[in-house]
């Protein structure tokens, strides 16, 4: 499935990090475009009415299945609703889910990572074991499990996606904390008599977090995709709320007759994923450049 591919892409991004900066220095167009697209999404999330004056919930049965044109740039769906308006109005939710889920995943990961790295042998073993077990479940399966037990709606969606993607981050933080813990500067700080809380705040956390910033940027895109997958499976917000994954799901039976029902929501998801990945990589290059 695409999950494997995407994880591989993220993995290789990390692996290539060292050489990426020197390899393609001229390629700045892509991050700029990605940034522009994300700004556009941000605008759509904050003030959707600026971009589309059409009511995303207004149905006009006699205008059903209109192909893209002047009146409806992305066409209309089976109920005559404007697809462009629905995508624009669906952005806020998608971004909220993406940011919320990533935030939740990070918070959980940092908690686990610090606990495992700094609270002694038993905690280290336990956290290592827990992260390994959770990591062995595919993200979607974990998220499905939580979505099924929390019920439908945006909060369960955020929770399910966040918890589903937490193990990946947790493993990273855990590893970072373990390596930073024994670093010279931490030992130096300890020798200078700094308290444990201060050491964590001033040394462990910042150094453990740096690689995480990059992963989290890309993670937002992934979270949006997982959330779309869940709403595609019917676990998202109840109708008629516009949601990209639900739009894909509702349009899929009409793929042969009306391609625009699935094409544009799909495009929105793909472009969002691409943009966050491109931006994440650019960020990574800069960070690596600074440390090198």
């Amino acid at each position: 499935m695409s999950a494997g591919l995407l994880d591989a892409a993220a993995g290789s991004a990390a692996a290539e990090a060292g050489q990426a900066g020197s390899r393609r220095p001229a390629l700045r167009v892509a991050p700029a475009l990605a940034g522009l697209f994300l700004l556009f999404l941000l605008l759509a999330a904050i003030a959707p009415d600026l971009l589309s004056h059409t009511d995303p919930l207004a149905i006009v049965p006699r205008d059903a299945f209109r192909p893209p044109g002047w009146a409806h740039p992305f066409g209309t769906d089976q109920s005559g609703r404007d697809i462009f308006a629905r995508i624009v109005h669906g952005t806020r939710q998608s971004l909220l889910v993406g940011l919320g889920a990533t935030g939740l995943a990070m918070a959980a990961a940092i908690g686990l990572g610090l606990l495992g790295g700094l609270c002694g042998r038993v905690a280290e073993r336990a956290v290592g074991w827990l992260v390994q077990v959770m990591f062995s479940f595919p993200v979607l399966i974990l998220a499905l499990l939580f979505a099924a037990s929390f019920g439908n709606g945006i909060v369960p969606l955020v929770a399910a996606t966040g918890i589903g993607s937490a193990p990946g981050y947790a493993r990273m933080v855990f590893g970072q904390v373990l390596s930073v813990r024994d670093a010279g500067y931490v030992e130096a700080a300890r020798a200078l008599g700094h308290g444990p809380l201060r050491i964590v705040r001033a040394h462990v956390l910042p150094n453990a977090m740096r690689p995480l910033v990059v992963t989290a940027t890309m993670g937002v895109g992934h979270a949006i995709m997982w959330a779309s997958a869940l709403s595609f499976l019917g676990l998202g917000a109840p109708p008629p709320r516009p949601e990209w994954g639900t739009m894909l799901s509702m349009g899929r039976s009409f793929v042969a007759n009306a391609w625009w029902l699935t094409f544009f929501p799909g495009l929105a998801i793909v472009l969002t994923m691409l943009s966050t990945t491109v931006l994440g990589r650019a960020l990574q290059r800069r960070l690596e450049g600074r440390t090198a």
Binding site: L57, A58, I59, P61, R62, A64, F65, Q78, S79, G80, N152, G234, P238, P239, P240, M250, R252, S253, F254, V255, A256, N257
Partner: protein, 543 residues
């Protein structure tokens, strides 16, 4: 050069297409061929293969292949013989004396006798069977006496004019009494009948496999041939995804699909490899039933306002591409004693809806534009199963939008099927989506009389989901069942339809319908008239 080649290929294809069509037609009218396997793709899986237990449509679709009924029903609604060769009804309408065929044997070797009739009716009526449909149909059943080996006297507690009609339905199919004695789960998995096929195995969530019953020579008079079925084998696949079902049919991987999606009807009609077999079923149309037991629908004005705010015609045009007809009254047009007088009694009329809501005191509007009364918003809770059919889901989303325009906050609340049943059983809804397929107007008694307000079936839901209760209506329903004269009975059913329509109990949408897509390899597929259920007894394949 390429253009010439393309033209040549196109020409050949056209020619082939032409021959092809002629060939198909020939085969269809040609002589049946014995042997082969027919692959059928169904949209839903039965919860149990024994149609007595619970009793939902997917069960009867399979049951029609391996069960026979006591009597048959033809296209005009006339009752004919099947496992019973004849019957006499006592003057008081309380005893039915059935004379049975002497030559019928179940596929487990048990002979069919009066014992089997008794065992089956007892089984349906037994509360432990949790039979919502068959059991609900024979509430009047008082017992069976075995007169002799091939004569059974069935006793009723009250006259029941629709008794023979419901006996013709597959839900009341006759199973082997020996098999019925096994535990319920075992009989669900491998029930035994006397029909043209027998169940070989059921791989859950995948397929039911059936094989020809070689001894079969007791088909109903509605069948087109006598003797054993033509097919060796049926593979009854469960394929819930509509586009996959239609794709497999186009590719010829399956021979017949049910529930052809509305968006694929036009492509299916123009495809020379495919044909369509469609027929509207009798009964209560596909609907949303309003819960009258709690606010806001305890107020008839709010009920009518809600029904008048649903633009069903619009949805049938856009989502159903005008392929489905409107059913505006409490009965589908193919039901006996159906009256067209109520077709337009609930047409879309937002102006009237606004007036009614004002009268009912829902005069306020909140920030989102929904109507309020005493500061409370006008909310309608609708539990919907996640497994709901796409087209229905689209339809109710469109209704939701037109309801919003009238000021109703109609909430479609997705949940698992079990959760929806649980809410149904607890009266925890304002609108519940449903339908009822049956071949008699007595359906009005089942879904609107106070006799059916109790919990029923495996899930404990209520047949009367509106909670409507009216002694005058109940009395009419009883009177109809005791009225042997068809014209008088029709007049009573007309009054009952009028009461239901005037009480604003349902948004009815379109008749339940059987819609089969048939690939050119399958022939002779027929619908048994009693419920328009697929019968593969007369079918054959050319592959």
């Amino acid at each position: 050069m390429t253009r010439v080649a393309v033209a040549a290929v196109a020409g050949v294809l056209l020619l082939l297409g032409g021959c092809h069509k002629a060939a198909t037609r020939q085969a269809a009218s040609g002589r049946p061929v014995r042997g082969g396997t027919l692959v059928f793709a169904a949209d839903r899986e039965p919860i149990c293969l024994d149609p007595h237990v619970g009793g939902n449509m997917p069960q009867v679709f399979v049951a029609a292949q391996y069960l026979d009924s006591l009597v048959s029903m033809d296209e005009h609604g006339a009752i004919g013989p099947w496992l019973a060769t004849g019957w006499e009804v006592s003057p008081d309408g309380l005893t039915y004396l059935f004379h049975l065929r002497h030559d019928v044997v179940f596929t487990d070797g048990t002979p069919f006798t009066a014992d089997a009739v008794k065992a089956n009716l007892d089984h349906m009526a037994n509360p432990a069977t949790q039979s919502s449909t068959a059991g609900g149909y024979i509430r009047q059943y008082a017992g069976t006496t075995i007169v002799d080996r091939y004569t059974a006297a069935v006793h009723l507690s009250a006259p029941y004019a629709a008794f023979l009609d419901v006996l013709a339905q597959g839900f009341l199919g006759i199973e082997s009494p020996a098999a019925l004695r096994r535990p319920r789960d075992e009989n669900c998995q491998s029930p035994v009948g006397s029909g043209p096929f027998r169940i070989v195995r059921w791989d859950r969530q995948n397929e039911v496999v059936l094989e020809r019953n070689p001894a079969y020579h007791w088909g109903p008079p509605t069948a087109r041939h006598t003797g054993p079925a033509w097919l060796d084998r049926i593979e009854w696949k469960i394929v819930p995804e509509a586009s996959v079902r239609f794709g497999s049919l186009q590719a010829g991987e399956v021979d017949v699909i049910d529930d052809l999606p509305p968006e694929d009807e036009t492509p299916a009609r123009s495809n020379p490899d495919l044909s369509l077999l469609a027929s509207d079923r009798p009964g209560n149309p596909t609907n949303g039933t309003l819960n009258t037991r709690r606010a806001p629908f305890d107020d008839i004005r709010v009920r009518e306002a809600f029904i008048r705010s649903a633009d069903i015609e619009g949805a049938l045009g856009s989502v159903f591409f005008h392929h489905y007809r409107r059913a505006g009254g409490p009965l589908s047009p193919t039901t006996p004693d159906y009256s067209a007088d109520f077709e337009h009694s609930k047409d879309y009329d937002p102006h009237r809806a606004a007036l009614l809501l004002d009268q009912a005191g829902w005069t306020g509007r909140d920030a989102d534009g929904y109507r309020t009364r005493n500061g409370r918003r006008l909310v309608v809770h609708v539990p919907v199963a996640a497994t709901m059919w796409e087209a229905d889901r689209n339809l109710w989303e469109q209704v939701q939008a037109t309801e919003r325009a009238s000021g109703f906050d109609m909430r479609l609340e997705p949940a698992s099927e079990a959760a929806v049943y649980a809410r149904e059983g607890a009266w925890n809804y304002d609108l519940i989506l449903g339908y009822w397929n049956t071949n008699t107007p007595d359906v009005l008694r089942i879904i609107f009389s106070s006799q059916f307000l109790g919990a029923a079936g495996v899930a404990g839901s209520h047949q009367n989901a509106s909670g409507f209760s009216d002694p005058a209506f109940d009395a009419l329903a009883q009177q109809a069942l005791g009225t042997p004269d068809p014209a008088q009975r029709a007049a009573i059913y007309h009054r009952m339809q009028a009461i239901v329509a005037s009480q604003q109990l349902q948004i009815t949408t379109y008749p339940q319908t059987t819609r089969l897509g048939i690939y050119r390899t399958a022939h002779g597929v027929r619908l048994e008239p009693s419920l328009r259920v697929t019968s593969l007894y007369d079918a054959w394949v050319t592959k």
